[in-house]
């Protein structure tokens, strides 16, 4: 009995003199940032945003996080915010008693919520951040101050986001294919309109313009069997005809179609997956967990990777609608074999250059820069979609496999993926150079 009373007494004593964590102690860990990133990926997948639109959401949310964090922990991260196009005048006011990581995660959530349809994902995230902050011992005032600080930065970011031409491009005319044989035409099974034909009007984040990459010119269109063009297409035709379990698996592993439609008679079902940039951000998550990377390295990896992918997609889309190249399925069915179908569903936009290749190569460059050239990792992103996990000896090896996957999948020519990859690398290096 006496013992029990004593224990009770000690407990009360402990509780009453529980020390409040100092406001700028780093209480939030890499796992919290990883969780926030996962919420973003899930929300984007739920709403089935297309890869370009998704890349914008990822990049802006992570930049808001980075800029907030950097403004409060200037010794831990390099200043990049004012080097971003349109953010040259980015300023922050001095704030007392702000927890840097909490404020950053709030900013991340605010920007994510602004861009997404399914806002409840971020409402839940914000609530859980507050609860966790309390549990971690941050004072009510610190939480409030962090929220206010995040709000100030989010508003500044929001104004900047609103000037990126996204809203304007929503009002532009729909894209109608020229119907010429050499040009892109709507592909089965959806025959959907050309996706984001004005994406190169979107303000890039770091590169000067969408036009920075000097792409290799395409062979002249021809249905002559001896022409370079025909040979380029025929290579895809053969790759699909000679598909093996291995090539098919590779194709599906990197499919990353945010909204695949399955047609059966009148019935159309859709399957949502991570987008290509979403897949790579999930790789960042896995690598950061495995490496037990500190919060700043992780923030840096997410931000630079997502920005590089955003710019790479703008550049790829610029070339796509400039060259307006016919997809393999169209040429092959019309000129080689009407019964031919690709392994993957052909996405609704011109072929050249491959957006996934550009995305992946840019991400691989950034991640190699951060985690090393020969970094071995295992990617289990597709386990939940019923596919296997894959091991890679380097980020660039993974990116090269993406190139092959689009070719094996029958949706890209070899030149399209090779030039897409070169474009991605080129843009990632421009970004690294400018932000250094």
């Amino acid at each position: 009995m006496k013992l029990k009373v004593l224990i009770l007494f000690i407990t009360v004593l402990l509780c009453s003199c529980k020390e409040v964590t100092k406001h700028n102690t780093q209480v939030f860990q890499t796992s919290d940032l990883n969780h926030a990133n996962t919420v973003l990926l899930e929300a984007v997948m739920e709403d089935a945003f297309t890869p370009p639109v998704a890349s914008r959401m990822y990049a802006y949310a992570h930049l808001a996080h980075y800029s907030t964090l950097q403004s409060l922990r200037q010794d831990s991260l390099a200043e990049i915010t004012t080097k971003i196009n349109g953010l040259e005048d980015f300023k922050v006011s001095r704030q007392n008693e702000v927890n840097p990581e909490l404020a950053s995660l709030f900013a991340f959530s605010n920007v994510g919520k602004k861009l997404i349809y399914s806002e409840h994902f971020f409402d839940v995230l914000i609530d859980s951040l507050k609860t966790r902050a309390e549990l971690l011992g941050l004072s009510e005032a610190t939480i409030k101050n962090s929220e206010n600080y995040a709000l100030e930065i989010s508003e500044q970011m929001s104004n900047w986001i609103d000037k990126d031409m996204y809203s304007e491009t929503r009002t532009y005319p729909r894209f109608t294919s020229t119907k010429k044989p050499e040009n892109w035409r709507e592909t089965p099974p959806d025959y959907a309109n050309g996706l984001e034909p004005y994406w190169d009007k979107i303000r890039p984040m770091v590169i000067d313009s969408a036009n920075v990459f000097d792409y290799k010119s395409l062979p002249e269109y021809s249905t002559d069997r001896d022409s370079d063009f025909y040979k380029m297409v025929y290579q895809v035709y053969e790759a699909v005809n000679n598909k093996t379990e291995d090539t098919e698996k590779t194709a599906w592993f990197w499919d990353c179609n945010p909204i695949m439609t399955v047609h059966k008679g009148h019935m159309v079902t859709t399957i949502h997956k991570f987008t290509p940039p979403g897949h790579w951000l999930n790789i960042v998550h896995q690598v950061a967990s495995k490496e037990k990377s500190d919060y700043f390295t992780t923030a840096n990896a997410y931000t630079l990777t997502s920005m590089a992918m955003f710019d790479a997609i703008i550049a790829a889309w610029h070339v796509k609608y400039k060259t307006d190249l016919v997809r393999p399925v169209t040429f092959i069915q019309e000129n080689i074999d009407s019964e031919w179908t690709p392994v993957l569903q052909t996405p609704p936009f011109p072929e050249y250059t491959s957006g996934h290749s550009a995305t992946s190569a840019s991400a691989a460059e950034i991640l190699s820069h951060i985690f090393g050239d020969n970094y071995t990792f295992t990617d289990n992103t597709q386990l939940r979609f019923g596919l296997e996990e894959r091991k890679f000896n380097s980020f660039r090896e993974a990116a090269n496999q993406v190139n092959l996957s689009r070719f094996y999948g029958g949706i890209h020519y070899m030149q399209g993926v090779e030039e897409g990859a070169r474009q991605g690398r080129n843009i990632a290096n421009l970004i690294l150079k400018k932000l250094q």
């Binding site: 109608t176 309109n193 074999d337």
Partner: protein, 423 residues
């Protein structure tokens, strides 16, 4: 006790009525009398429901869905069976034959006074194994007795998709002779249409089949033809893919689909036979589901047909389902009604709408997939080789998700009425 209660309630109601009557003004009484008079003048319902207990017709086409076999895995699961009505024993009373998709077919012998007798077993016409679809009664062998032709579909085994021909032995029994007559079609059959195509006084037959690959049902498949021109792709092999035309050559039928020019790879759902161009030769209109255009097979004589859909119609239904041909305006020319999935409520219509866009539509038009709109189409025969769609002027364009249509003068007023089944 119950008796007392009854008495009481009777009394109460009498009292109530009495009270009511007393309260009514003369005006109200006039109105009531007027309504009563109107009701007296009103014609009784045109149809009377006869209970299975009275008719002895208890047939029910029950379908049991499983994990592997349901409306999601097979879209045509609820397209239904078939029913054929005809006098099989020439006693002046029409008998009824039902096909059950997965249950046994049934033959009911008419015994007069709307009383029927199930003679399926003794007549040996249960349809056997497989998924039974449409049925037709016709005197296939010209012996004055109605025979029964049963279509089959769905099964992956060719053997179970062989259509059946029950030859009438004249003694209320039948013998299955599809193979012997050359009519054991292994296609995915929907319905057979017997008609004398070549005017030689025997029945030829058009069998409605469809491909099995529903994944490509809405794909515009075009490719270079022999002349290097891009046009709709033609399958290299039409086996179990195409409608079939069988020519009757005295007790045996000859598959002359290719020579007749009717090979196709569309999801055909119904057909009507009639003279579309007043040349006294029966033509065939075929309703095709999904993206493939309907066909108007104009009879050129000698069992040759030519698809003239573009010449006669400016546009057709998109996912054409049921169809019927009858003279709607009594001008002596048959008019055509085809059904589609077109609800008349805006919300429902938007929910049912297939994905369509300008470019796909253009592609369809450019490559001979026809001008197709998702609505019922009531085509009035102008009598000069052209038809005019008047469906939107007549409130018949949108009738929900509609399956089959019958045009018939139901109330004997000299004008054809329209019966549409929805589901």
């Amino acid at each position: 006790m119950i008796k007392y209660l009854k008495c009481f309630s009777l009394l109460a109601s009498v009292l109530l009525c009495y009270n009511c009557n007393e309260d009514k003004t003369k005006e109200e009484i006039d109105i009531i009398q007027k309504i009563e008079k109107e009701q007296e003048n009103q014609t009784p319902p045109l149809f009377t429901y006869l209970k299975p207990s009275g008719t002895n017709i208890s047939f029910s086409n029950d379908i049991v869905e499983t994990d592997n076999f349901n409306i999601i895995t097979y879209e045509y699961l609820y397209n239904g069976g078939g029913v054929a009505v005809g006098d099989i024993n020439n006693d002046g009373l029409d008998d009824i034959y039902f096909t059950g998709n997965t249950v046994s077919n049934k033959l009911y012998l008419n015994q007069g006074n709307f009383s029927f007798k199930d003679i399926t077993q003794s007549a040996k016409v249960d349809g056997g194994k497989g998924f039974k679809t449409g049925v037709t009664m016709a005197d296939v062998n010209n012996d004055g007795l109605l025979d029964i032709y049963v279509c089959k579909s769905v099964s992956t085994q060719d053997e179970l998709r062989k259509n059946l021909l029950y030859i009438n032995n004249g003694d209320l029994t039948f013998t299955e002779k599809a193979e012997a007559y050359g009519l054991a079609d292994t296609g995915y059959s929907v319905q057979a249409y017997f008609f004398d195509s070549d005017g030689d006084n025997d029945l030829d037959v058009y069998v409605l089949n469809h491909p099995k690959n529903l994944k490509e049902a809405n794909v515009v498949k075009i490719t270079q033809n022999e002349n290097g021109k891009i046009s709709p792709a033609v399958p290299s092999d039409f086996t179990n893919l195409s409608n079939r035309f069988y020519e009757n050559r005295v007790h045996t039928f000859f598959d002359s689909s290719e020579a007749a020019g009717i090979l196709n790879d569309a999801f055909s759902l119904s057909a009507v036979i009639g003279d579309f161009n007043n040349d006294f030769k029966p033509d065939i209109y075929v309703c095709n589901d999904y993206i493939k255009p309907d066909r108007l097979l104009i009879n050129k004589g000698n069992n040759r047909f030519e698809d003239k859909i573009e010449d006669y119609f400016s546009h057709t239904s998109f996912s054409s389902m049921g169809s019927d041909l009858a003279d709607i305006n009594n001008d002596g020319n048959p008019d055509l009604l085809t059904l589609d999935m077109a609800p008349n409520k805006n919300y429902r219509r938007k929910m049912m709408m297939m994905m369509q866009n300008y470019d796909k539509f253009q592609k369809m038009v450019n490559y001979n997939y026809g001008t197709q709109y998702a609505s019922n189409i009531l085509n009035i025969n102008n009598g000069n080789g052209s038809f005019s769609d008047i469906s939107f002027l007549n409130n018949v364009a949108q009738t929900e998700w509609s399956w089959s249509v019958l045009l018939s003068d139901i109330d004997n007023d000299g004008f054809k009425d329209i019966h549409v089944t929805n589901g």
